[in-house]
């Protein structure tokens, strides 16, 4: 599957296209295969996202998991500061990233 991702223009937060808006939670991301360029262009022009691009992902335990480790770090936060990630209390999160 392909996910569309970018950054929020104002806050810089990493965001994922949910089908109707942009969320910081990758669990809400949808498959955009085939439509990625059109959505990216429209959303960027409206400034609802900054520098969007598409990444490969697979479903994993019911949620999208990017194929590349860099995108997984990006989705979650720095592995060396679990307290600063989106899932500070999740002990399994290291495995999800790495």
């Amino acid at each position: 599957m392909r996910l569309l991702t970018g950054n929020d223009l104002k806050t810089g937060a990493v965001t994922w296209w949910t089908g109707k808006d942009w969320s910081i939670h990758i669990e809400e991301a949808v498959n955009v295969s085939g439509n990625e360029d059109e959505i990216a262009r429209r959303e960027e022009a409206a400034r609802r996202v900054n520098v969007p691009y598409a990444v490969d992902a697979e479903m994993h335990d019911g949620s999208p998991r990017p194929s590349h480790i860099k995108e997984r770090v990006r989705a979650l936060g720095p592995t060396v500061r679990p307290d600063l990630t989106l899932k500070p209390a999740d002990p399994e999160i290291g495995n999800w990233v790495i």
């Binding site: 400034r47 990006r74 500061r81």
Partner: protein
Amino acid sequence: MYKYDQYDQAMVDARVEEFRDQARRRLEGKLTEDQFKPLRLMNGLYLQLHAYMLRVAIPYGTLDSRQMHALADIADKYDRGYGHFTTRQNIQYNWIRLEDAADILADLAKVEMHAIQTSGNCIRNISSDHFAGAAADEVVDPRPYAELLRQWSSFHPEFSYLPRKFKIAVIASEKDRAAMRLHDIGINIVKNDAGELGAAFYVGGGMGRTPMIAPCINPFVPLDQLVTYCEACLRVYNRCGRRDNKYKARIKILVHELGAEEYTRQVEEEFAHLLEQGVEPPHDELMRIIRMFEAPNTDQTAPNDIDRSDPDFALWVDRNTVAHKASGYVSAVISLKPVGGIPGDATAKQMHLMADLAKEYSFDELRVMHTQNIVLPHVRKADLHALWTALDQAGLGSPNLDTVEDIIACPGLDYCSLANARSIPIAQRISERFAETGKTGTLGELKLKISGCINACGHHHAGHIGILGVDRKGVENYQLLLGGSEAEDVSLAKITGPGFDENGIVNAVETVTTVYERERQDGERFVDTYRRIGMNPFKEALYG
């Protein structure tokens, strides 16, 4: 240290307003991201892996307590309570919002700080010796010259759209404590036989994909022609540096492709022309700046003896203090490398503490080392125990300067969108391994540097042991390099062979130190033994 006059203040204030306007135009859509990017980069604002990242300039690594307090306040108010000190003596914040950026710059301007030209294809922060003004071996304090060049390079109308970034280092000693030969321009202030001061210019060094050691293109430029000579070097680069390929655009490639001789010829030709254009500030300006760097009013009667009865304190004194030109004083190094910690990171609380300690014990001055530690340059020996006690309580008292625990690491894949592999966990595991086995002391001086990608922000080419993180079919892999040095014995490290996974690289580092222990002769550091016996014994131990 340098203090702004009304001109300097007006310039940073104008820059804040310029950026505020640019950010507004971006948020309103009047600027595209492509148009905005070089503008925000020239104010140190990156769009990074997790958020915007702001790199604040700490000119030649020098700051006072008021400024360090302000950096701590910014971490608390706008970021997540910490900052990262970098391999170019700057500080970075990783969780910045574009909508706050202009306010942050305004807060910085209030304490004579900025983020001007800390990124982008322009002249970057000018670095210098972190022991400047204190080191007994310096010819002169190099920082006034760095300050002169900082002003010359700020908002330079001709050199703000260079082929690529441009990094300058200025030192004034035979010992190179600023990796001067690995910069685009390295300047070493020297004395000639007549006792006159001049600048030896080394142009075309760098790390990254193609590491190179800068050749000396002029061994003695008179100091009253410093700016003119720099201008000549930059103009030849701006005109002739490659613009067809981002990875071949640094000046080191130009010097390499033209040859040092031809590059020098062009610079000298431009220099002769520019000498007639009146670009050099007058001698009075240099004297005005030099007066602000006068030596601190040290106590001539300060005692030299230190009570070493506390063994932990004695160890810290032995490892983390450095001789000072004034009797009864030392420079003290605050380690930002606790075992298992994140190299170069400091919490806001720690920054506030370091500021207070600087005010109390170091004539209100701190330095940022390019090796990501903090220096209190002028500390009375008699105050060391009180200082160390405070540092130790705050997790800042690790006695590991220049040891295998004193690891230089870029932020790596945990923070950086350019990275191929995580560097911080490797640093953590290595320091833990050596602390566990108790080998840190026996190994002595061992400079270990880790980069998470080929851009080499961790300076791995210049490590006695270097580690380069790569992407091997989507999996992190680590190459081991040996024999580099950033000091006056500058050399580029060589790769040992096939790379290792995360566990493997930690073991590999331990393996090569075992070879060193076995083979070393009197007084040899790791890098000395490597240079004497060569790569083969290490290769054998690693790969069988």
